[in-house]
Amino acid sequence: MKILVVDDSKAMRMIVTRTVKQAGFSDHTFIEAGDGKEALEVIQQQTPDFVLSDWNMPEMKGIELLRELRSKGNPIKFGFITSESSPEVVREALDAGASFLITKPFTPERFRNELTAVLA
């Protein structure tokens, strides 16, 4: 399984990857992108199985990335990692077709539960 981690912060990409590995998914392949635009390219070239994306990014936000993918008919599984947890954000994400949202700060347990459900 190939997981794409999208975040404009390298530190965040590292911490997300590390936490997902700690959650028991260490034998998957992790690839990265620094914003939504780059993610679109990476998805086209490397066809990951799953996208974990930040919400707030320069050059195409996470929600725009997801909408772009869905408008092109790409059904790739998609989860958000955000520092905001308002009901509006959650509804926007789920309406656009996200499987889940994880709020920062997060724990491995949270990834374990969400990813187990999605990847099953």
Binding site: S9, A11, I15, S83, E84, S85, S86, E88
Partner: protein
Amino acid sequence: MLNTEDIQTISNTVCRDMLGLEFESGEADGTRMLSMVACIAISGDYRAVVEVAMTPKAANEVTTAMCGLEPGEVQESDVADSIGEIVNIIGGNIKGAIPGETKLSLPCVSLNADESQENSSPEKRQVFFRLAGEPFAVTLIPG
């Protein structure tokens, strides 16, 4: 709205859950320059700037914990990235606790800030911590 205790709780939660680091309460220490600063703006129904400021040593501590690096491996870009992410998470959590429609900006970072331009707004909420013995401040400046 949010009081200093709330700011303290949010900052503590972020630091403990995200970095595995424990904040200790601290107090203002005029002798130490908090030259590493990251801030983020909340706009909309409520407007404020959230700022974290710390010494280079504290910033280094945050960066090694966040990136999983050894102290010697830390580069300036990692520090900017890490403290920017910290203010992003604290700002996001503050935004979430405020009613109404608000938006969060992208963080901005200065690794060589001049404290003489300090904001003296009476509504300012400021909390001081110690992180591995080093001073660290989180400030909410409404307006």
